[in-house]
Amino acid sequence: MLHYHFNFGLIWQHFDKLDWGLVVSLELTLAAVAVSTVLGLAFAVAHVSGGRGVRALVAGYVECIRNIPLLLLVYLVFYGVPTIVNLQYSAMTSFIVTLSLYYAAYLVEVFRAGLLAVARGMQDAGKAIGMTAWQRLVHVRLPIMFRIVLPSLSNTYVSLFKDTAIASVLAVPELTYGAQWINNNTFRVIEVWSVAAPMYVVTGYAILFLLRRFERIYAMR
């Protein structure tokens, strides 16, 4: 501590890298939340309603994704896939796709458990008034399921937000990348990480707080 001269001034000078970085992190989060939720929901419904083949496919997908590091998947999608498929995409797109695929696997489990927790009687009541399977899914089972899984969903989304930090390895200009830039160009190591880390903590808890408010209105009444 004795040999270190604090200089927060340099941090504020380059603060745009951090605050705009946070904005990018949130953009990544929003995009990945949207895509992974749709995917996870689709796979979960397929698993619960489908035959043995579909169930095996979904289970296989979930097992494979959940047991490998996100970093590996990020590299695989960005560096590996373009070598076998004739596609080109930006680092940001690549990361959003990867993060979505990764979290879809987690969300499948959340949604599956939620769907199974919807009481059988609800299905019977829906059938009794003449609803088709699709109508029962959309108007009865999914609305009830969402209210049941809201707490788990909130936690998963906050985790997703934290994992956007890994986008820095692809030089996506989010918060961690901004902090690394400041770190490497100003050598204000203590200051930059002492600002960047709390930014994650505060934002993460703010998101959680907002989601809990939402929960209180809608969660399983």
Binding site: N67, P69, L72, V81, K162, T176, N183, A197
Partner: protein
Amino acid sequence: MNFAHVLFEAAPSLWRGLEVTVEVSAVSVSFALVAGLLFGTALAYGPILLRLPIRAVVDVVRGIPVLVLIFFVYYVGPAAGLELGSFSAAILALSLFSACQVAEITRGAIISVHHGQMEAARAVGLTFRQCLVSVIFPQALRRFLPPWINSVTDTVKGSALVSLLGIVDLMLAIQQVIGRTYRPMPFYVLGALIYLCINYALSSASRRLEAHFAYVRD
């Protein structure tokens, strides 16, 4: 050059990387287990003056992405006077992150044991330590093990991030091999398979444990 030949040449590097990954993971898991059990027990039973700071540390650490925590420890540690090489920094960060997870799991497992158990044990005349060891912990165990094994797989996955500090673990070894051989997909897939094997073995153990304990009625 067919792939079998390339793989054969790369195998030693990959093996060394795997050893590093296992080493980093194992050490972190061990530290985290000890620290996490202590913190978690303190959170469940400790006086408020002990609970509050631990709660604060746990909540803050869990709110930071693992990657940022690793960088924080790696850069801020030495500047603050700690002698930390990249290896030590990585293990410290990973252990800290995992310890906070384990603390939460421990706390959850302990409070899931009905408080009547503690009362009954005290009534028999056991000391606090005896209560914990003979009555509470054995019952908390079944609520502890499955999520703990999940946190172990999280640590193994998190260990891949130490490659960004230049530590040649499996992740970095794969990238180095790809850099030499220009065959990204086969080696990324191979790496995925290796991580998959390790973690799948762990999560199968977790599932079997959950089934084993299922006979106990809640």
